[in-house]
Each structure stands twice: as C-alpha cells, then as structure tokens.
Amino acid sequence: MIRADPMLTMTTRRAVLGRATLLLGAAGGLLLASRLPAAAQAQGSQADIAFVRSVAGQITSILNAPGSLADKRAKILPLIDQNVDVNGIGRFCLGRYWRQATPEQQQQFLDLFHHVLLNSITDRLGEYKGVKVTVGTATPHGPDESAVSSIISRPGQPPTNVDWVIHDVNGQPKVADMIGEGVSLSITQRGDYSSYLQRNGNSIDRLLAAMRRQLSARAS
C-alpha cells in the first residue's frame, strides 16, 4: 500500500476543478456539475469524511462514557462489525495462507480476527477517558479508496495522526485500514501472521491456537 501523495493530489484536484469550471462556463449549465468526475469525487470524499466522523464519534462517546472497560468493548464490537470491512482486512492479513486454509479454518480465523481488530482499534484510540478525534480532509488512496485524515488526542500524550482508509463494500462505506503515523494496521498484522506461520511449519491450526491464547490472555 502506497500512501497517496497529498501535494500531488491537491494539484491534480485543483487542475481538475479548474478544467471543470471552464467546462461549466462553456456549457452554461449547472446541471453538468453533478455529472463531472471531479464533482462526484468531491461528493464522495465529503461522504467519507462524514462516515469517519460518525464512526469515530460513536466510538469515542462510548470510551468517554462512565462504565467498565469490558462493557465499553462489548458496545464497540457491533460498531466494528457494522463499519469495518473485517473480512476484507482478515483475508489481506492472512495473505497467501488464505488460499491454503480450509473453509472451516477461514471461518474460525475471521471469527477470531473480529476480536483482534477490536483490540487493535481500541489500542489506537486509547482505552482511557478524554480521547478526542478531530477529522480532517479526504485524499484519494489507490484506485477506489480514499484516506480520511484525523488527529487523535489523548490526555497526557502527544497527538497522533491517523488516516482512515475507506472503501465501498456493496455500496456501503467501510473502514479498510488505519494508518497511524505512517504505519498501517493491516500491513503490520500481515507481517506478524506470516512470520508466525513461517516459524511454525506453515500450520494454520497453530496460528488459530495462538490467536485464541493471545485473546484469552488479554481478556483475563
């Protein structure tokens, strides 16, 4: 995954917008605006920004409310199922081993992976009260994804830059990755799994067992 070049995209977008304005003038009709790719893209990125703002807002309001951490995690889990492309990220993280896994192994992996993602995301947002997410702008990220920037501030810690990578699954926007200070959650997770598998005889059952151990150690 290569990060979108913000300066370049700014310039191209400005150029596209400039051309769009000229075209508009020539056509003399505002109706054209909605059909232009630039305008459509701008609308799409507005929708992505709104989506990230809503997801981040829901998660932070749960984290900032009173209650035990276990309760909060139970409340966040359905939000992740609903708004994060868990299956897509899971397949990416298993890499070439996804094809080697039996359908049962794939299903077990995805079930465990839901909880792994919950941990990763709450780790990144922090499990403390007082977390605040400021959502910034959207830039294209690859052919059909966009990256929405945000700044996460937690009390007593320096603010971190986190980009939310968004793509559409069946017409619904979903979080496809989180990139914190240039570090991608899914690429890191993929490296962890592939290294573990290589050192454990490429056995997917051993990976599943290790994931179970890790999750139960964390839950206790």
Binding site: G182, V183, D192
Partner: protein, 252 residues
Amino acid sequence: MPWRRAAALSALAGVALSGCAKPPPDPDALADFKATNDPLEPTNRFFFSVNNTLDRYTLKPVAQGYVAVVPQPVRDGIHHVLGNMASPTLLADDVLAGKPRRAGTTFVRFVINSTVGVAGIFDVAKHLGYPAHEGDGGLTLASWGVPTGPYLYLPLVGPSSPRAATGFGMDIALSPLNYVPRGYGLLTLNWGLYGGGIIDTRAQLLDQLDEIYRDALDPYATIRSLYRQHTASEVEAIRQDHRMTTPDWYTQ
C-alpha cells in the same frame, strides 16, 4: 566516548554477518523472504532476545520509575531540553538533506527555545508556528537515494539498517559537543544527555511496547514491520516537505 561506542557497534555488526538465514525454495515463501529483507534474521533474533532481557531488568523498570516519580510537565521539559541540545546535529542533517527551509525552522527553533524557552525547557517556537520535525543521519542518507538495506537489530540500539547505522555514526561525528575540549564537566554533561535520552525515549515507548507484546504473535516481526513502515513515512515526509520560510500566521 561515543567514537569507541560506534567502533564497538560496527565490530558487533561484523560478528552478526556470520549468522545468515537460507532463502526458502518455495516461490511464495521466497517472495516473502525477499520482501522481508532480513537475511540476518537468526542473529537479529538473538540480539532481540538479549535486548529484551536487558530491558526487562534494567531499562524498563527505570523508565517506569521515571514516569511514576517525575510529573508529566517536568518530563516534557526534559524531553524538550534533550531535543534542543540535539538541534545543531539536526540542523546539519537538514542542510545535508538539501532542505534549507527545514534547516531554517531548526535554527529558529534553537534560537527561540534556547532563549525565550529558558534553555530549551519550553517549546515556545512550536506555538509561534515552528513545530519540531524528525531528522537524523539515516534519513539524510535516504534523501540522497541511499537504499535502506537489510534489516538489522543491533545490541543496545534496537531496530536499524546499514543506512540508519551509518547515519547514527554521522550524527555522532556531527555533534558539536564532541569537539569541545574535554573536561569533567563536559564529560558528565555528555553522559547525562546520553543516559537521559535513553530513559526519555524508553519512557515514551512504555505503552506502545506493552501493546506490541500483548497483541503480537511474533513481536520481533511486528517491530520489524513497524520500524520499516515508520522510517519509510519519515523519508516520505522529508521528500514532501515544501514548507514556506515564513510561519503560517505571517502569510495568512
């Protein structure tokens, strides 16, 4: 003696070259092997476990004690002083990376923070529109197009690469404190800064490293991936830095 430290490090790196991993025969596994670019993995893992043991019994408890005893504002002040003392080296790195505007920011930050910021305790410059930025010898070499090379995990230093290790040596050579005539006062200051820098860095990483050990199945591979990605993004940040010489409030 920083020079002697660097010499010892390069000697150890030479020893490390003897423990190589064999490329796997399977094409998919070979692609992974090449992407990971960690031919010294067995040696690296050995130093990783040595460092972890040392860390568990020495550095981590010290960093935890430091966080428990010293209040956050004081720790912030110490962090700023250490950063300010490293400014001359950063300035040289900015210049060598061919980024005069970054160098200008570093210079202005040093002047403002050393004076108004009371010897660097307060980061006044940040609030005046001159925020801090990352830079070191390794990143400077990267800006010249030097490739990162295979992954190295060095004893005491941690995740590195031939490029970063060379840059580390450059930074020691560029540090003006190493050229002032020797005396006990300076020697103490130099060691104090060095030790303070290590504790400050470890304290900043307490939560992050705990999270890695809690969540990762293979912490070595996870740290390798994090280090690589983070370095790549820092290199990209330098490459994309086309900042204006004047702060934001001046042009707006």
